[in-house]
Symmetry: C2
Subunit: 248 residues, 2 copies
């Protein structure tokens, strides 16, 4: 009845995966270091070795660790982690300052989303366009803030799927996990009318099959989103990023 937030109820090995993965991402173990032997983890968490091993396999599959007989299980450098993996993302967001990660995510969006919209304009199928339109309509009809954000997310995801290029899809996945909060904050009240117009501009360009128009409309959309984020969250979202970050 009481299941801790939503962590209990799930299988034991995913709980162990969460705890170990989280502590790695959090940096508690440090790159190149080895985590405790399996048996020791078993004792620490009071689970069987089966469970621990399956958790380790999951983390290995995400690129976080690699293990060898005798030498143990070591943390791999973060360049080799599947940083776009939903779980890895979640562990990041749990640990670090949210704003830093939202800013970085926004850098990625700024790079990819205009091109994605352009590809969508030339490659989208009927059902892709239907999904994008559903996003627009949902934003239009939304009564609650939450419904508005959900429709907004659907809209942006649908654009990535409409590229018909699977390498763009993992980026769409991030929205589910990462953007809900930032969108929720940025979607309050007065911005909506303009946002709606700009979203529909992207839709229209895609429907018209005009790649360059879609790209341009998306650039506008993102620029205004950045404005909102700067206003609400702080100057970390300014573009381009501060030069003084550089060390020479």
């Amino acid at each position: 009845m009481f299941q801790t937030s939503n962590a209990l109820r799930r299988s034991v090995h995913s709980q162990v995966t969460d705890r170990v993965g989280s502590s790695i991402v959090r940096g508690e173990i440090g790159v190149g270091e080895t985590l405790p032997p399996e048996m020791q983890i078993c004792e620490m968490m009071a689970v069987s070795r089966t469970v621990v091993r399956e958790a380790i396999r999951t983390l290995t599959g995400k690129g976080l660790i690699e293990s060898r007989p005798k030498s143990g299980t070591r943390v791999r450098p973060p360049e080799q982690w599947n940083q776009l993996d939903p779980d890895v993302l979640r562990w990041h967001l749990e640990s670090a300052e949210i704003d830093r990660y939202l800013a970085k995510l926004f850098q990625l969006r700024s790079a990819v989303e205009p091109a994605a919209a352009a590809l969508a304009a030339t490659h989208a199928h009927e059902d892709d366009i239907a999904r994008i339109r559903a996003g627009c309509d949902g934003m239009d009809a939304a009564q609650t803030n939450e419904a508005f954000v959900a429709a907004d997310i659907m809209f942006h995801q649908a654009i990535y799927f409409a590229t018909r290029n699977e390498f763009f899809w993992p980026i769409a996945q991030m929205f589910e996990i990462t953007l809900r909060q930032s969108f929720t904050i940025a979607a309050t009240g007065s911005h909506r009318p303009r946002a709606l117009i700009e979203h529909r501009a992207v839709l229209d360009a895609i429907v018209a099959g005009d790649a360059e128009a879609a790209r341009a409309a998306t650039v506008v959309l993102l620029a205004h989103s950045a404005d909102d984020l700067v206003r609400i969250r702080g100057r970390e979202f300014e573009t381009p990023s501060p030069r003084d970050a550089r060390k020479r």
Copy 2:
């Protein structure tokens, strides 16, 4: 002594992971369908249930499947796969027509790499620049074709790492797996001098901290790479992509 290419010698569960993962990506199982019960897979591949379960955990972690007691283990829709995962990528390349995937990868690069270079110009640290320069120098000094390609890959990877934005890193990882062959083909003989100049232009812009110049230089670099790919592999690499792919 003889180990089949490089497949033998590896652990049993990664072999099982490969076989199952490959057959899923290949589409032999079909979205929403269930794979055979664990025990049956054990018999088919003559391994213990431990091994099969660990393989399943790995694939679950990559988003390919999800399993429930009694109802079995089902294939999830490809939108939810970690398409940028090195293994998933490899399974794709094993199965499908290489050219289609190289073309799609190139679409992603075209979207991301100019922005990545721009970010690198403002965010790169000393060691990042050293790596990029090492790539240039390596291309310069390369005697063999293979060495040239390796340096080329290092150059492009280093740019993604230099963004200091971990969300760009998984894209760099793809190069290792995907680009070796395409680069090898495109790097023959006469293209090298021009390629070298263009690479160094990107490096110089990044060193100068000039984001816009870095973006522009990368666009040029990619455009010429596309030319080479079109010439050698076929018109699939043309930009923008064919309109008639659209169904309305």
